[in-house]
Amino acid sequence: MINTKRFTEEQVKRYSRHIILPQVGGKGQKKLLEAKMLLVGAGGLGSPAAMYLAAAGVGKLGIVDFDRVDLSNLQRQILHGQSDVGRRKTVSAAETLCEINPDVELVLHEDRLTSDNIMDIIHEYDIVVDGCDNFPTRYLVNDACVLAGKANVHGSIFLFEGQISVFLPGQGCYRCLFPEPPPPGAVPSCQEAGVLGVLPGIVGTIQAAEAIKLVLEIGISLNGHLMLFDALDMSFQKVKLRRNPSCAICGDSPTIKELIDYEEFCSLLAVPREC
């Protein structure tokens, strides 16, 4: 019998294009199969991120989303299809991901993330891939990752532009960059302003690539950098970030000691839904 150690015959074939890569190999693929990642949001960013992470054979993939699939999501949220409208995004996502790779252990978290539950949820994961669409959740995820010492692979989109970064414990965070969320009403939501459907495909895929690189410990991480993408110019710009010693959560004398539930201002801005 052919001895391929712990890989099954199917895994050898499924992951062969990874295993062939000198920077991955069987050892790297095993790291991926042992990795535990949490995806915050099964929407625009979470769709491509989840699909590629599942395809890559990430061992355990948690998905947090309390929402249901809406027809207006399908322009960009490729985890979901026409027949999923009205269904829970977590359930719809799980079906798609299971079809891509049944090797992956999927854990569905159908709750809205709050200061009460986030620490318990992220506890069991190594890397958090933040694909949320609102500031309260983004700051909650950031602060929780800092407090729990988890890597945070950040992505955000607006109109035709995206931002991506990686925040590693002790090396800066989203608050070092943007100390406070904008006041309610100051920034229009995607619901209001619109977003190019393919944009989260690009940004979420970059998040997946960064998360995979963290697991494999290869290449140059976006840690310490912010990637700015503009789909209209088709330009990528990388700017350096520094940890802010006076950051309220990860600085030398942090003033934020417990998690904050910011006002859910996205819902305040909600445009009337067709009824």
């Binding site: 052919i2 001895n3 391929t4 150690k5 062969s16 295993i19 000198p22």
Partner: protein, 81 residues
């Protein structure tokens, strides 16, 4: 085959085709210690060139490639990285 000190592991890959001949050889080699020697037997003709080339690309040492009978070839690789 000329003097090959010692073969530490053998892999029968008859019936396998590329790229799995290399993939499985690589996986096997990963389990060996530096300096250990792997003997792979293939009967897929393209693998006779492909496996040694890919091994060299990865920095491994190919000690020999030789036809052992009408259908089979052996490839001897020493783990160098």
């Amino acid at each position: 085959m000329a003097e090959i000190a010692r073969v530490d592991a053998e892999l029968d890959l008859k019936g396998e085709i590329c790229p799995y001949t290399f993939v499985k050889s690589k996986l096997e080699l990963e389990e060996l210690e530096l300096g250990q020697v792997l003997r792979v037997v293939v009967n897929h003709r393209p693998a006779v060139e492909n496996v040694p080339r890919s091994m060299k690309n990865e920095g491994q040492e190919v000690l020999g490639v030789e036809q052992v009978n009408d259908t089979d070839w052996e490839i001897i690789i020493r783990k160098a990285v």
